[in-house]
Amino acid sequence: MNICVENLSFRYPNGVLALQGVSLEIASGEQVAIIGQNGAGKTTLVKHLNGLLQPTEGRVLIGDWDTRKYSVAKLAQRVGYVFQNPDEQLFTKTVAEEIAFGPRNLGYSKERLQTLVEDALQLTQLQAMRSANPYDLSPTWRKMVAIASILAMDTPILIFDEPTTGQDAASVGRLATIIAELKQRGKTVITITHDIDFCAENFGRVIVMGNGQVLLDGSAKEVLGQEAILAQTFVDPPQITRLGLRLGLTEVVCTPQEFLDVFETQCAA
């Protein structure tokens, strides 16, 4: 299911112009990271994808649906949105019930509901905690419950807003596994993140936003090596990319393996 954002502008009621003329297409199954400083318009943009915000100008298409014509509850069939703070959505007595809330709202059959909940529990490694009260879990695991509750909605498109904030290395690793699995299944994943290293290692496409506009949009390698433009939005290139740049490698590298491969061939030359 393709996403098509056409000349999108958005002005908040207080007069702030948060997006100006954003156009982009995201093909089915793409893994896209959106980066940029706070206030750049990242969250405003993704809130248009499931109808939480309506364009002041331009339009957004999710497949053949124009978001202006569908309610948020309806668009939830196509777009799952994991909010930044899990505490702003958890309300049930058990983890499993919390996960079932979304798919139940979508009216799935009992069998499908059960399969989806099991699958989400397994993807997030929450099986052992299925009967626990979400409020008794640590914030790290509460985040996983919030993610599982959206995974279980089985939408073709998933949005993550700052999924790594406050997470430790193990939890970030779990997230990377989930995103890889979603890629395998052909889902579209759009992630807002400040964690540029996480972005470099898990996303094929990177969009850099600043002042309500798209500054850069391309493959991770094309985008993350552009130190000067990234600096405009106060983002440093990823650690490994910086290492490559400092050592004068002719190719932009994003992961340790890539770095070593390029480093070795260039040393040998």
């Binding site: 309610s71 509850a73 505490d87 958890l90 409020y135």
Partner: protein, 259 residues
Amino acid sequence: MHERLSFYVKRESPLHQLNPLTKLTLIFGLILPAFLVPFYWTPHLLLVLVVFPLAFLGKVQGEYFNAATRLILPAAGFLFVMQALFIPGGEVVLARVWFLTLTQESLLYAFANAVRIFVMISSFTLFMLTTHPSELMSDLTRRGLPGQFAYVIIATLQIIPQMQAKANTIIAAQRSRGLDTESSFSRRIRALVPLVGPLVFGSLVEVEERAIAIEARGFTSRLPKTSLREISDRPLDKGLRWLLLAMMLASLLSRIWFS
């Protein structure tokens, strides 16, 4: 965004310079006579000769008359209509509408009551427009109000816009999970649980962290507190307070004497 968290309007005026307690006394110095003095035109005279000029004295006439027309007038007007129509009694019948009778007496009574309410809300409005909440609380704490009490009042005033923002985020998050909050009434009622739950839980986490944060700054210290804000309490303030107190007493006595 959240720069304005109170009704306070910062201006240089004689009213702003008054001590908060003096202004608090002033509120009651207006309300008590308006309600108690048996002379019929008292509230009307107070409104025109004292409240309106005070708004100009405090240089908040713009804000005050804005609030007066949009908020106070409708409230007082509603009260006037209700009382005029529904208070029984009176000899001089002016009109009959359906089963209601409008008499001259009830009309006059309702008019005076509406003006009394007008005076009351106006005094509070003027007070809030010209008194910074921090100043009021610092002053009352200095006079012996427990610090915790003052904190709860101020923190509650400040937390309301934050709670609203939080509630909006929760609604957005649950709608994104397919929760229908827009269609029928019964669906909306059922949608309350997923909205209220996170609001309460989130607030509990916040309260715990905020308790740690203020404790890390010695909030429960038993030492006598000092105040960054210097709150003037001039002889003029003391004199005014005595005068106002005398007026309140006089209006009380007049009530007892003439009835």
